[in-house]
Amino acid sequence: MKAQDALLGASRMKAWELALWLALLASPLALPTHALIINEIAIVALFAISLDLILGYSGIVSLGHAAFFGLGGYAAGLLAKHISPDPLTGLLLAAVVSALAGALMSLTVLRGNDLTRLMVTLGFALILYELANKLDWLTGGADGLQGVTMGPLLGRFEFDLFGRTAALYSLTVLLLVFLVLRRVVHSPYGATLMAIRDNRLRAMSIGIPVASRLASVYTLAAGIAGMAGALLTQTTGFASLDLFDIHRSADVMLMLVIGGTGWLYGGIFGAAVFKVMQDVLSNITPQYWTFWLGLFLVVLVMVGRERLVRPRSWFARGKTQEAR
């Protein structure tokens, strides 16, 4: 009974989680002056969670996840501009477009070692960047996609200058996706993913269809990344080439690594820490804040990533065990 309870309990919402999510959802109302950065954090957190799905749970190293982020962003923007300003339709379309792209690209990430995957995913993101630049009759090129005005959400809530609607919208999408993914990773499907991550050969030998699993999770992650991109376009009102840029993929990977891979909260936590730090530091030194960010990262790694979340270990001697 105990084992079964433990396994089932892992996928249930705990009390502290409920409190956390209520606090997050209330934050744009409680801190109206910070609604904009909360919106940004929510969007990047969603993006980071989608990366966690392939990086943390399936072991696919990707430096080009921004390809789907950008695809979703442009898809939503173009839909809003030319066909329908309804945000939810845009969100859906973005998810579908990115998922399709993910399905196509998943064929290429199945083979090779870490470095190969890194470069192939990166290459795709770079190609999409150049494509978006070239097709400027469609995308607005380097000037960005202009004229994206969103209709009211659910027909009632206008996107206001304070960013409150935007933040609540993003947070709600984040919560819903999180709940779904939580079910996914705690299911037998999720268990097979982790098995593949830990030892692909062994997973194959017990009959797990590695290729189709990886392809399906990559597609799912791509779709969610596309949703995050759509949220960004919809809440800011335009899309530009840097949605595909390498620094976006790199930043989200950093956030995920800071927060911890393999548990979905890592993406949220890492996104919050990274963004807040970036904002605070760049207010203090607008020119040289990257130095302090770099220093933080170096110290973080030297000291050990898990120590960030275990204050007791700050004073412990000796090496900490690797969490995985």
Binding site: W16, L20, A30, T33, L161, F238, S240, Q287, V309
Partner: protein, 390 residues
């Protein structure tokens, strides 16, 4: 388990830390939100403009219309969505009276809707694409537009023995503007443009493009690259022996950016460019500007970005005086139609288009007192932005 409990506490603590009390609205402060790329590829733009803005404040005092002027400088790292968020925060939280800066076109375009929605004037001090002033009725520009510079050169070239020109531009908004307007005007003047080449923004090597130009052998090569890349083009142009093959190098002034010109070496001598600002402009106002700018910034020479920033501050200050420190529509009205003497020469802000109208000078690189300068030899007065006529 403990890790997860801690993370809740951490997130809550972070939330509490962010919840600093909102700044009290202060009625006796005039706030300027200066959003610039202080890091990244366009960092030199940000430095020049910030230095120029602070110089203006140092020269003209930090009080206007009875209010204290507060300059809030923010780094947008050249990312349009960051620019937009910063602009939104400045308007909503800091309640700035005017937004300024905007190093690249997408940044300016991204902020335009916010300016319209919040009725905050935005002064574009750097970005140079024509369409920016159309994006919002609250946009005022003090920088320049590429069409202004390109058209002037396309008028000058055929009168000086240059009939066939190949264009080489960076593949982004201002570059495409420059290419289009130069080509159209040159064709109108009876010239020919056998090839138009576009260089990807990330391209580290101009060699294959320049080789292609060499093989076509036009009378001249027209170049536009963002400020900072001019030196590379110049060097590779010389390295490829193109000057010896009889191909002249002409371009907009970004190629011989004052920021870098002195370091380019004698190979840059004789290059003809068209631009609205040269640090060698022989007016008393400019000499004073250059001298004081250098003194305040460790001998740095101001470039056209600095001129845009300096004039932008002038426009803001005078408009604030006219509107008695109010923001919004009154401030915007005070900006339109301003005529004054800038370090670049005379200029005014067109009341209809809110765009800058100034002289475009034709300059040649010459050595004076051991330093390289863009020496003006011809001028086209009061050039309006041709891009608006379309």
């Amino acid at each position: 388990m403990k890790r997860r409990q801690f993370s809740t506490a951490a997130v809550a603590a972070a939330a509490a830390a962010i919840a600093a009390p909102a700044a009290l609205a202060q009625d006796n402060v005039f706030k300027i939100g200066l959003i610039l790329p202080m890091t990244g590829q366009q960092a030199t733009t940000g430095r020049q403009i910030e230095a120029a803005a602070r110089l203006y404040m140092a020269q003209h005092g930090d009080t206007v219309a009875g209010k204290k002027v507060q300059l809030i400088v923010k780094d947008d790292t050249s990312l349009p969505d960051v620019t937009r968020r910063i602009a939104q925060e400045l308007v909503v939280n800091d309640k700035v009276n005017v937004l300024a800066g905007f190093g690249i076109t997408p940044s300016a375009l991204a902020v335009a809707p916010i300016a319209t929605q919040s009725k905050t004037p935005m002064v574009v001090m750097a970005a140079a694409t024509s369409s920016i002033t159309l994006a919002s009725p609250y946009v005022v520009r003090t920088s320049f537009t590429l069409p202004q510079a390109s058209v002037a050169l396309a008028d000058w070239a055929p009168k000086n023995g240059i009939k066939t020109v190949v264009t080489l531009v960076s593949d982004y908004g201002p570059g495409l503007d420059a290419e289009k307007f130069f080509k159209d005007r040159l064709l109108f003047n009876g010239g020919q443009v056998p090839e138009t080449l576009r260089v990807p923004m990330r391209s580290p090597d101009f060699a294959p493009f320049l080789q292609k130009v060499r093989d076509i052998k036009p009378d001249a090569l027209f170049v536009f690259v963002p400020s900072g890349a001019g030196a590379a083009v110049m060097k590779q142009f010389l390295e490829r022996g193109m000057d010896k093959a009889g191909i002249k190098l002409i371009g907009t002034g970004d190629v011989t950016d004052d920021d870098q010109l002195n370091d380019m070496g004698d190979g840059a001598l004789g290059v003809v460019t068209s631009h609205h600002y040269s640090a060698f402009h022989p007016s008393a106002a400019n000499k004073k500007f250059v001298a004081e700018f250098s003194k305040a910034n460790k001998g740095l020479r101001p470039n056209f970005m600095a001129a845009g920033g300096y004039d932008g501050m002038r426009v803001i200050y005078e408009a604030a005086k006219a509107s008695k420190g109010q923001g919004g529509d009154a401030l915007l009205a005070g900006m339109k139609g301003q005529i004054f003497e800038s370090p670049r020469g005379p200029m005014f802000i067109d009341a209809q288009t809110r765009d800058v109208v100034h002289n475009i000078y034709l300059r040649k690189v010459e050595k004076k007192d051991g330093q390289l300068w863009n020496v003006e030899f011809d001028v086209i007065k009061d050039v309006k932005d041709p891009g608006k006529a379309r």
